[in-house]
C-alpha cells in the first residue's frame, strides 16, 4: 500500500472509530450514572417491587416483568403473522403484488411510534375495552382476565407491539427464505411434495435465520417506548392478567426521568436503562449471529 493511501485509511478509519466508540461510551456512561443505585441496592433492585421515590425505595421487578411479558405476548401474536407474510411474499404471491406488499410492510415499520401511540389511545384502547366488557363472566374468573375492564393495560400494549414488530420480523424472514437454494424446493416438488410440504422444507432449511428474525423482533419490542407508554396504563405491578395496567422499563424512563429530583432516583432510572441496553445488546447480538450464519453477511444488512 502506498503511503498516501495510509493517510486515507487512517482518516476514514478515525470516523469508523468514532462509530464504534459510541457503543462503548453508552455502556460506560450508563454504568457511571447508575453507580449510586447499583451500590445501594445491588441485586435486590431486580428482586423487589416497591417503587417509592419519596421513601427512596427502588425495586424494578415490575418493570422488567412488564417489559418481558408484553414483548413475549407480542411475539406470540406477531411471529406466525410475520412468517406467513414472509412466505406469502417470497413464495406464493404473484409477481405484480410483490413490490406493493413489500412497500406496505416497509410503511408499517416506518410509521413513528408516537403515531401508533396516538392511535392506540383513541382507537385501540376503546376497542379493547369493549372487547373486555364483552368477555363472558366464566372466563373473567381466570387469572389471565382478572381485574376491571379498563382498556389500557397489558393486552393493548401487546397488540400494538405486535403490529410494530411484524414488519421487522417478516422482512428478515423474507430475506432468509430467499437464501434457500432453489434446488432444495425443486427436489421437494420432484419427490411429489405439495406446496405446503415444499415450503415447510424450505422453512426448516432456513430455521436458524428465522429464529434470528424472531429474536430481532424481540429486541425491537423490548425497547419500544412511546406507543407502549401511552397504552399500558403505567402501573408498577407484577400481574399475569392481560387486563391489568402494568409498566415497562422503557416507559418508566420516559415518564419519570424529568421528575427525578434526587440523585438516587435518577441513578435508579439510569440503571433500568443500563439493563435495557445490555438485554437488547445480547438479544440483537444473538439474532445477528443467527442471521449471519444462515445467510452470510449480506442479508444481515437487511435487518437494518
Amino acid at each position: 500500500m502506498r503511503s498516501r493511501d495510509i493517510g486515507f485509511r487512517l482518516s476514514t478509519g478515525a470516523f469508523a472509530f468514532v462509530l464504534a466508540s459510541i457503543v462503548v461510551a453508552i455502556g460506560f456512561e450508563l454504568s457511571r450514572q447508575s453507580m449510586l443505585s447499583i451500590q445501594k441496592f445491588g441485586f435486590d433492585f431486580w428482586r423487589t417491587s416497591t417503587w417509592d421515590p419519596v421513601a427512596g425505595q427502588f425495586g424494578a421487578l415490575p418493570f422488567i416483568w412488564g417489559t418481558l411479558y408484553s414483548s413475549i405476548l407480542a411475539l406470540l401474536i406477531a411471529t406466525p403473522v410475520a412468517i406467513g407474510i414472509a412466505v406469502f411474499i417470497s413464495e406464493l404471491c404473484p409477481r405484480i403484488l410483490r413490490t406493493p406488499l413489500v412497500f406496505l410492510t416497509e410503511l408499517l415499520a416506518a410509521i413513528p411510534s408516537i403515531v401508533y401511540g396516538l392511535w392506540g389511545i383513541f382507537v385501540l384502547v376503546p376497542a379493547v375495552r369493549s372487547l373486555e366488557i364483552a368477555l363472558p363472566d366464566s372466563l373473567r374468573a381466570l387469572p389471565l382476565f382478572s381485574g376491571p375492564p379498563l382498556g389500557v393495560g397489558m393486552l393493548s400494549a401487546a397488540l400494538i407491539l405486535a403490529v410494530m414488530v411484524v414488519p421487522f420480523t417478516s422482512t428478515v424472514a423474507r430475506e432468509v427464505l430467499r437464501t434457500v437454494p432453489l434446488a432444495q424446493r425443486e427436489a421437494a416438488y420432484a419427490l411429489g411434495a405439495t406446496q405446503f410440504e415444499a415450503i415447510r422444507a424450505a422453512i426448516f432449511y432456513a430455521r436458524t435465520g428465522i429464529v434470528g428474525a424472531v429474536m430481532l423482533g424481540f429486541g425491537r419490542a423490548l425497547g419500544e417506548t412511546m406507543a407502549v407508554t401511552m397504552v399500558i396504563g403505567n402501573n408498577p405491578q407484577v400481574s399475569a392478567s392481560l387486563f391489568a395496567p402494568q409498566y415497562t422499563m422503557a416507559a418508566v424512563i420516559a415518564n419519570e426521568f424529568t421528575e427525578a429530583a434526587d440523585e438516587l432516583y435518577l441513578a435508579a432510572l439510569v440503571e433500568i436503562g443500563l439493563v435495557l441496553f445490555i438485554i437488547t445488546l445480547v438479544v440483537n447480538g444473538l439474532s445477528r449471529g443467527l442471521i449471519w450464519t444462515m445467510a452470510g453477511r449480506k442479508s444481515g444488512r437487511a435487518a437494518a
Partner: protein
C-alpha cells in the same frame, strides 16, 4: 388416495393462512392511516404551520415553533451524522476483511438496535447533566447517534454496488485511493447515499423518546441551540395525553404531518432503490 386428498387440503389451508396473515398485518395499517388521515385533515389548516400554540381554552393555534424545532433538531443530527456515517461507510466498503472492520460493522448493527430511549439517557448524561440545561444540542446529539449506523451501513452497501471497472479505471490512471473513492466511486453512488440519508432523517424526525429529556419542550419560539426546544413529536405526545379536545385535534394534525413526511420519504427511497437495482441488472 384419501391421504393425497388430505395433503392437498392441508396445502391449500396453509396457502390460505399465509394470505390471511398478510391481511391481518394490513388491517392495522389501513386503520392507522385511515384515522390519521380523517382526523388529521379535519384539524390541519394553514394556522397549524404558521401559528404558535395557544393556551388551554382558546381554540385554534398551531405548531409553528415545534415544526421549526424539528427542523433544527434533525438538521443538527444530520450535521453530526452525515460525515461520521458516510466516512465510516467508506471505510467499511474500502477495507473489508480486517478485524477492525468487523468490529465497526458489528458496532453499527448493535447501535442500530439500541432502544432510542437508552440513547436519550446517554445524551442526557453527556449533554444535559454537565450543563444543568435541556438543549437543542442535546436533542440533536441523541438523534445524530441514531442516524450514524443507518447512514454507515447504507453507504457501505451502495459503494459495494459500484462496478469494479470504475475503480480500476481510476486507479489505472494513477489516482490515489482517496482520489478514486471521492471523485469516482462516491459520486457514482451518490443518489443512493442521499436516499439513505433522507430515510435516516425521516426516521429520526419521528422519534419522541430520546427527545423527552434532552431537547425537552418549549412553549415559545426559539432558535437558540442552548435552550430547550419544541419538536412535533414531543408536542404530539403532550397533546395526546392531555384532556383537552382542542389539543387532541392538534395531535392528530401533527400525526398527519409526520406520516406524510414518512410516506413521501419511503416512496422516494422505493423509486431510487429500484433505479439502483436497474443499474445493477444492466
Amino acid at each position: 388416495m384419501t391421504r393425497m386428498v388430505w395433503r392437498r387440503m392441508l396445502s391449500s389451508l396453509f396457502v390460505g393462512a399465509c394470505a390471511i396473515a398478510v391481511l391481518v398485518a394490513l388491517v392495522p395499517l389501513a386503520f392507522v392511516l385511515f384515522f390519521v388521515l380523517s382526523r388529521g385533515v379535519q384539524a390541519l389548516n394553514l394556522d397549524f404551520f404558521t401559528h404558535m400554540p395557544l393556551p388551554v381554552g382558546e381554540s385554534g393555534g398551531g405548531m409553528a415553533n415545534s415544526i421549526v424545532g424539528t427542523l433544527i433538531l434533525t438538521g443538527l443530527a444530520a450535521l453530526m451524522a452525515v460525515p461520521v456515517g458516510v466516512m465510516s461507510g467508506v471505510y467499511l466498503s474500502e477495507f473489508p476483511g480486517s478485524r477492525f472492520t468487523s468490529i465497526v460493522r458489528f458496532a453499527a448493527d448493535t447501535l442500530n438496535g439500541v432502544p432510542s430511549i437508552v440513547i436519550g439517557v446517554f445524551a442526557y448524561g453527556v449533554a444535559v447533566l454537565p450543563f444543568r440545561q435541556f438543549s437543542a444540542l442535546a436533542g440533536g446529539l441523541a438523534l445524530g447517534i441514531m442516524m450514524i449506523p443507518i447512514i454507515a451501513r447504507t453507504t457501505e452497501e451502495l459503494l459495494l454496488l459500484v462496478p469494479g471497472a470504475l475503480r480500476e479505471g481510476a486507479l489505472a490512471l494513477g489516482a490515489t485511493r482517496a482520489r478514486a473513492v471521492f471523485t469516482v466511486i462516491v459520486p457514482a453512488a451518490l443518489p443512493g447515499i442521499i436516499t439513505g440519508i433522507v430515510l435516516a432523517l425521516a426516521r429520526v424526525a419521528g422519534e419522541t423518546a430520546p427527545l423527552l429529556f434532552t431537547s425537552f419542550n418549549n412553549r415559545f419560539f426559539t432558535t437558540e441551540l442552548t435552550q430547550p426546544i419544541s419538536s412535533v413529536t414531543v408536542q404530539v405526545f403532550t397533546y395526546a395525553i392531555s384532556p383537552y379536545e382542542d389539543w387532541q385535534r392538534q395531535a392528530w394534525a401533527g400525526a398527519l404531518v409526520l406520516v406524510t413526511i414518512v410516506f413521501i420519504c419511503s416512496l422516494m427511497a422505493r423509486l431510487a432503490t429500484s433505479r439502483v437495482a436497474d443499474m445493477r441488472g444492466r
